[in-house]
């Protein structure tokens, strides 16, 4: 009521474009924090939708209650996160994109209008599906095919939403001379590699999150189990131990409380391994996919690619490839320790793979030059191997050394996961055996995967600087690009 009289005033006032704020908080830190959190939540939702479909399918086919519980847990997690993630996305659009980068965003929206419309439509469908499944999970137990169908629809919707966002993201990196044809944007040369990269990456990320959360829950269940074990000892009347155990386990009898805690540890142990297997299995596909993506960037946005491989971002790229190696190492160490805890066969294979992985990671992390950029090495006369007094290190070159390291990582990860699954298929893994320390490896895996995603985002977004649409639009120059031409002053006409 108060605002209504102000509308005509607002409409009548002339809003002139303001320069984009350039302080660190608004234009860098805020953007980075909001964008990265938004991306990590969105990718988790997309990847989880796939894992839920897998779990629900297995649960239906084999009557496996663990999978049903895991599916339900993931759906609950998705529903809880979706609210916060949506608020963050709205904040991102309203504050950053419209509030600070308004002119650029309107220009981008006009270029990619239908893509945004479809993306938003998918968002609306996603809300309907996710909350329908979440709110009716138990009711739909009687109609399992329907529940599975809704979950499949949710996964497909989320994938399409990601696809449309990828269209925009790939347009921003390889706009192909600013081609504004919307079909051409969908057929953008980097769109498909980016979509494949993200599709596989989302599954890996969801698996890593599942592994990390399962580790925390496992530790909590183990702690509780420790307390309930004390309960099962001969009770002493009014003892502090018995009282505290009752507080932790409610009013359950001691034996029931113990069994419940044991099943909890077994479940979260299993869920952690399940998540880690997905995380590592999906990640081991990524090197070739990522390399294909880089190849397309090289073909269609050469300056951006050059900056990633030879410029200042090449150092960040080294961090990224090191993190990739670390993901595989953490996964293999976890599998090794998990198998050792159950005294299964195949632990020697894991140790062997670990040694090769460490060597491959060291090779991959070796810098190709002892200078910030290749240009600096050349400028300082160091364009020759370091053993000839130069700044170049041929051992650290991408081709062939880093590629060989990547192939080694992929194969070692494959052998490692296969070895673990082999032990499982022989029935040698006993759920609930995992050591406390091994769970911290899963937490480390989650954090490393998160750091890896952030690093990749930094490389990708910075490779096209100072442009937001590569070679077409800059943030600082948005008014120049989109505003009407300035009126010349007499002085400019007659210098």
């Amino acid at each position: 009521v108060i605002a209504v009289p102000a509308f005509p005033l607002l409409a009548a006032s002339t809003v002139t474009p303001q320069p984009v704020p350039t302080n660190l908080f608004s234009n860098s830190a805020a953007v980075a924090i909001i964008a990265l959190v938004h991306v990590q939540i969105a990718t988790f939702l997309t990847g989880s939708s796939f894992l839920v479909v897998v779990s629900e399918s297995i649960s239906m086919a084999r009557g496996d209650e663990r999978h049903e519980r895991l599916g339900h847990t993931l759906v609950k997690g998705m529903a809880f996160l979706f609210g916060f993630g949506s608020a963050l996305a709205i904040l991102w659009v309203l504050w950053i994109l419209l509030g600070m980068w308004g002119t650029f965003f309107i220009a981008l929206t006009r270029i990619t209008f239908w893509v945004f419309i479809f993306e938003a439509a998918m968002f609306a469908v996603e809300i309907g599906l996710l909350y329908t499944v979440y709110a009716n999970w138990e009711r739909l137990r009687a109609y399992r095919p329907v529940r599975l169908g809704l979950l499949v629809l949710l996964a497909v919707t989320l994938w399409w939403q990601q696809f449309f966002i990828d269209v925009i993201a790939s347009y921003m990196l390889t706009p192909n001379g600013g081609d504004t044809n919307q079909l051409a944007q969908i057929l953008n040369p980097t769109n498909l590699p980016l979509t494949v990269h993200r599709t596989v990456g989302n599954i890996a990320w969801a698996g890593a999150i599942l592994a990390g959360i399962s580790a925390v829950r496992y530790l909590r269940a183990r702690r509780r189990e420790g307390r309930s074990v004390r309960v099962s000892d001969p009770p002493r009347a009014r003892s502090v131990g018995a009282m505290s155990a009752t507080w932790f386990t409610g009013s359950q009898p001691a034996a029931a409380a113990h069994a419940s805690a044991a099943s909890e540890t077994a479940f979260w142990d299993w869920a952690g391994v399940w998540g880690a297997v997905w995380a590592i299995s999906a990640t081991m596909l990524q090197p070739w996919i990522g390399y294909s993506y880089a190849k397309e960037i090289q073909l269609h946005a050469y300056p951006a690619w050059y900056r990633m491989m030879f410029g200042d971002l090449s150092n960040v790229f080294l961090v990224q490839i090191t993190l990739l190696g670390l993901i595989f190492i953490l996964g293999t160490v976890f599998f090794w320790r998990r198998m050792r805890a159950s005294e299964t066969r195949g632990t020697r294979t894991q140790v062997l793979m670990l040694v090769v992985l460490v060597l491959a990671t060291l090779l991959a992390a070796t810098p190709a030059r002892f200078a910030n950029t290749y240009a600096e090495a050349v400028a300082s006369g160091g364009d020759r191997p370091w053993w000839d007094g130069g700044l170049m290190n041929p051992i650290g070159t991408m081709i062939p050394n880093k590629i060989i390291a990547l192939i080694a990582m992929m194969l070692c990860a494959l052998v490692s996961v296969t070895s673990l699954l082999r032990a499982h298929s022989r029935g040698e893994l006993r759920w609930g055996d995992a050591t406390r320390r091994s769970q911290w490896l899963l937490v480390g895996l989650t954090l490393t995967t998160s750091a890896m995603m952030i690093t990749m985002g930094v490389i990708r977004e910075h490779s096209r600087q100072p442009f937001v649409v590569n070679g077409e639009i800059t943030i600082q120059g948005q008014h120049i690009v989109n505003a009407p031409p300035p009126v010349n002053t007499p002085d400019e006409n007659n210098p």
Binding site: L192, S281, S292, P400, T418, L421, H424
Partner: protein, 395 residues
């Protein structure tokens, strides 16, 4: 079969058949061929093998028709096909069927292998069924790529240049192989003659030899089907298995195999149950090939011009993964290690899979040591195909 002849045909015809049968034993052969037992469950999945055979025969027939016109000459091959496409009444259609037949054949044979892989049908005593089948798969791929070089349009010529150059990356003997295939250091008439000979004589000879061996082994050991056919339902599994062994119909019980996998729980006759399914699938596939051969046909670009600098060669879709690997491995020795060694080792592992997977398990989820690498390989093939298609065709 004899009963069929009893009613409608004349006594003379019956007498002729009896004369023929006494000398060839054809009735018993037909009986043996038609009345073999096959596992009851999963019959539609077993149609892929017979569909593969039917499609290979279709390729043979359409190939013979093409041979009536085709001239294996550097200068004449393209005009001959141009005539076939434009002036022959059904030429374009037959050529389209030959191309689409090859595409469908590769898909079907791939699915057949996938089914065999998932059901672990390759295990003892059927190891050689798998080995001959895997060799057949590679022979079909060889036929497809040599066939793609024959039209002598731009695509065929540059395919020949690229493919005949691949052996060059093999150390020591690579240049010799390339020279042997091309007939010189460069692609020319001799290259076409030799590729033509490989396509119509060498590879088909090997192909039909291995088909014979494959079918003989199939008949010897019987169709394994899948693990779902071998469960026990009674409280005394050993007794049930014993009864099953006693009452088994030929070709069961399979010899030199664990007792539980020797006889399927329920079987049906190949004729009419399985043959009906086989026929439905084969007819459906042939219909698809007919339609695609007629509607889409086979492309024929401009005549080969070795002097051109602007033509970008693109591989057939089934070689896209290999092509993408080549693009991602841009140096000579990396092509050797990254492509030839990896692909070679992968192919060897595929051929000798039964000797690598020695476990007794048959259900796929109980064989993660082969299932996971298989899934990894399949996923990589699909992803590299998609990414290669994106690079070449802007998908």
């Amino acid at each position: 079969v004899l009963r069929l002849f009893n009613r409608p045909v004349s006594r003379r015809a019956r007498a002729t058949y009896r004369w023929f049968d006494e000398r060839t034993n054809s009735t018993e052969l037909i009986h043996k061929g038609l009345y073999e037992a096959v596992p009851e469950k999963g019959g539609w999945a077993y149609t892929l093998g017979s569909a593969t055979l039917v499609l290979i025969l279709l390729q043979l027939f359409t190939g013979i028709f093409l041979l009536l016109v085709y001239t294996p000459s550097f200068a004449e091959a393209w005009p001959a096909l141009k005539y076939l496409q434009g002036s022959d009444r059904f030429g374009s259609w037959v050529r389209g069927m030959h191309l689409w037949g090859a595409y469908v054949l590769i898909v079907v044979i791939g699915l057949h292998m996938l089914r065999t892989f998932l059901s672990a049908s390759y295990k003892r005593p059927r190891e050689l069924n798998w080995v001959t089948g895997a060799l057949l798969f590679f022979l079909v791929l060889g036929l497809a790529i040599t066939g793609a070089m024959l039209p002598m349009d731009q695509a065929a010529y540059w395919t020949m240049v690229v493919v005949t150059n691949i052996p060059h990356y093999i150390p020591f003997i690579g240049d010799g192989i390339r020279h042997l295939w091309r007939g010189s250091d460069f692609v020319g008439q001799v290259s076409l003659t030799r590729t033509f000979a490989i396509h119509i004589w060498v590879l088909p000879f090997l192909l039909f030899s291995f088909i014979g061996a494959h079918l003989y082994l199939l008949r010897r050991h019987g169709e394994f089907g899948s693990w779902v056919n071998y469960g026990t339902v009674s409280g005394d599994p050993e007794k049930e298995l014993g009864e099953r062994l006693v009452g088994a119909e030929p070709p069961y019980p399979t010899r030199r195999i664990e007792r539980r996998w020797a006889v399927p729980r329920k079987t049906v006759d190949f004729f009419p149950d399985q043959l009906f399914k086989d026929t439905v699938i084969s007819v459906l596939l042939i219909a698809i090939i007919f339609v695609f051969g007629f509607v889409v046909g086979a492309p024929l670009s401009e005549q080969a011009n070795p002097a051109t600098l602007s033509y970008v060669p693109t591989p057939e879709w089934f070689y896209l993964p290999l092509d993408q690997l080549l693009v991602l491995s841009p140096q000579t020795y990396l092509i050797f290690t990254g492509v030839i060694v990896l692909v070679g080792l992968g192919a060897l592992a595929m051929i000798f899979l039964p000797f690598l997977d020695r476990s007794r398990e048959r259900a796929p989820l109980r064989r993660p040591e082969v299932l996971l690498p298989g899934l990894f390989l399949a996923t990589m093939l699909v992803l590299l195909t998609v990414l290669g298609a994106n690079r070449l065709y802007g998908l």
